[in-house]
């Protein structure tokens, strides 16, 4: 539980929003809680809000962990 997913910021949108991508799924989220986000950053997204920014290494490690879980469940 309490999973929050790192997503790659692919575009910045008006009104402090961004397009993010995760595993080929594209969505939008609010950037109101995180300052200074740029395209190419990873952010932790929870129910439509970016909660924090992750460095690429942490994000990739987390995504690898989540991928292992998905593979195990498949």
């Amino acid at each position: 539980m309490c999973l929050a997913v790192p997503a790659l910021v692919t575009a910045l949108l008006p009104d402090d929003r961004a397009t993010v991508s995760l595993g080929g799924v594209t969505s939008t989220c609010s950037l109101e809680l995180v300052e200074g986000v740029a395209v190419g950053d990873y952010v932790i997204v929870h129910v439509g809000y970016a909660l924090s920014r992750l460095d690429a290494e942490e994000a990739e490690r987390t995504l690898a962990l989540l991928a292992e879980v998905a593979d195990a469940a498949a």
Binding site: C2, L3, S27, E35, R61, L66
Partner: protein, 389 residues
């Protein structure tokens, strides 16, 4: 929590059947990946390091529960870190309540979320770890190098209470039911306006579930339950039935909660009062903890396994427990966890029982009432609601 979710986040789904003006049937189901499986096969220290990444919404509590489980399995005494650890989880709980107050509560009033002020709270909360553990190693098994910077901690606490005073209470917090009614009537914050709504006669006692509180349970109790039954994690039970965990469990004896319960009974008003009581008490607990902090070094290394252990940590949403079994090389051979959402959103648990038999005028009214009750129980995932009329 109704925003679109990304893959892997999980969700709670609620299905209702409305028969006239009564919810005749309610089904609640949780869908989520069993992400704890990703920790299996890893050395204990690495598992404790990865848990906060994997479960980042309550990363400190997750990391500490895994660290404590490792300590129990390895025979490591980290008792000198207990106060610092409670401070970390209390700060994280305040941050989590802050999310509710800034995002979820305005939404329940039909208002726009107000996340921007949360930045201040989150900055103050994130200052706690380095003020305790300068190397930010506070979540490692055995504890990190604890060197409390009391001035920095007090400054962080002042910022947190400042946020609470401004964003939630907008004045002295209510301390009993009379206070709560007056505070709600003034309506100086989203929290107060939500209180006014929840104190309405048709809502205050709505959603009463009659489910017992989980209550104090030792790590040994959780360990025996998780180790003895692989299904316990997905379907936890206590005394052969459901149990409720969270602010109400922690604050059932608080003057505000007792008074509100006497006046309004069980239901939405009581649950909200418990959350307010948590917000009142968390800074007080943190202030007391800061005054008693002492420097400490990591606990001495224990055995290398095999063994098993359980760690329990408190989150805003309730009690979190991790159980793990280490093999002879000190790697995790098994890992299981039970989170507050597993208790409160279980099939036949507090939400399901609070909904079954409850009244609603029509489909829209039912959806909004369910959203209020869901917000009070606060799942860590998004919630979808489906009503059959």
């Amino acid at each position: 929590m109704s925003a679109a979710t990304l893959p892997g986040e999980g969700s709670v789904s609620v299905r209702l059947w409305l028969d006239g003006r009564t919810i005749s049937r309610a089904e609640v189901a949780i869908r989520r990946p069993r992400a704890v499986a990703a920790l299996v096969g890893r050395p204990a220290a690495e598992a404790a390091r990865l848990a906060p990444l994997l479960f980042s919404l309550c990363g400190s509590a997750q990391g500490l529960a895994v660290a404590q489980a490792c300590e129990a399995a390895l025979g490591i005494d980290a008792g000198a870190h207990e106060t610092a650890r409670t401070l970390l989880t209390d700060a994280e709980a305040l941050d989590s309540h802050g999310w509710q107050a800034a995002v979820e509560w305005p939404a329940r009033l039909g208002a726009a979320p107000r996340p921007a002020p949360l930045r201040d709270l989150r900055a103050a909360v994130s200052a706690v770890m380095p003020a305790l553990y300068p190397a930010r190693d506070g979540l490692r098994p055995g504890g990190g190098i604890l060197r409390p910077d009391v001035a920095a901690l007090r400054e962080a606490l002042v910022r947190m209470t400042g946020w609470l005073d401004e964003a939630v209470f907008a004045g002295p917090p209510p301390m009993d039911a009379e206070d709560l009614v007056r505070w709600a009537g003034r309506g100086d914050s989203d929290a107060a306006r939500l209180a006014a709504r929840l104190l309405a006669p048709d809502l205050a006692g709505w959603g009463a579930c009659g489910v017992p509180l989980l209550g104090e349970r030792s790590p040994g109790w959780f360990g025996a339950a998780l180790a003895g039954d692989p299904a316990f994690a997905a379907g936890p039970h206590c005394n052969d039935g459901p149990a409720l965990t969270g602010p109400l469990e922690r604050q059932a004896g608080h003057r505000l909660v007792v008074s509100v319960t006497e006046r309004f009974g069980d239901g939405l008003a009581r649950l909200f009062a418990a959350r307010l009581a948590d917000l009142i008490e968390l800074p007080r607990r943190m202030e007391a903890a800061i005054a008693t902090l002492r420097p400490a070094d990591p606990g001495p290394a224990g055995t290398c396994g095999p063994g098993d252990g359980c760690g329990v940590a408190e989150t805003a949403r309730g009690r979190l427990a991790h159980w793990l079994r280490l093999d002879g090389d000190g790697r995790l051979a098994e890992a299981r966890m039970v989170a507050p959402t597993d208790w409160n959103f279980a099939a036949g648990g507090p939400l399901a029982r609070g909904l079954a038999g409850a009244g609603a005028r029509d489909r829209d009214d039912a959806v909004e009432r369910v959203r209020l009750l869901v917000a009070m129980l606060d799942p860590c995932v998004a919630c979808d609601i489906e009503v059959h009329v």
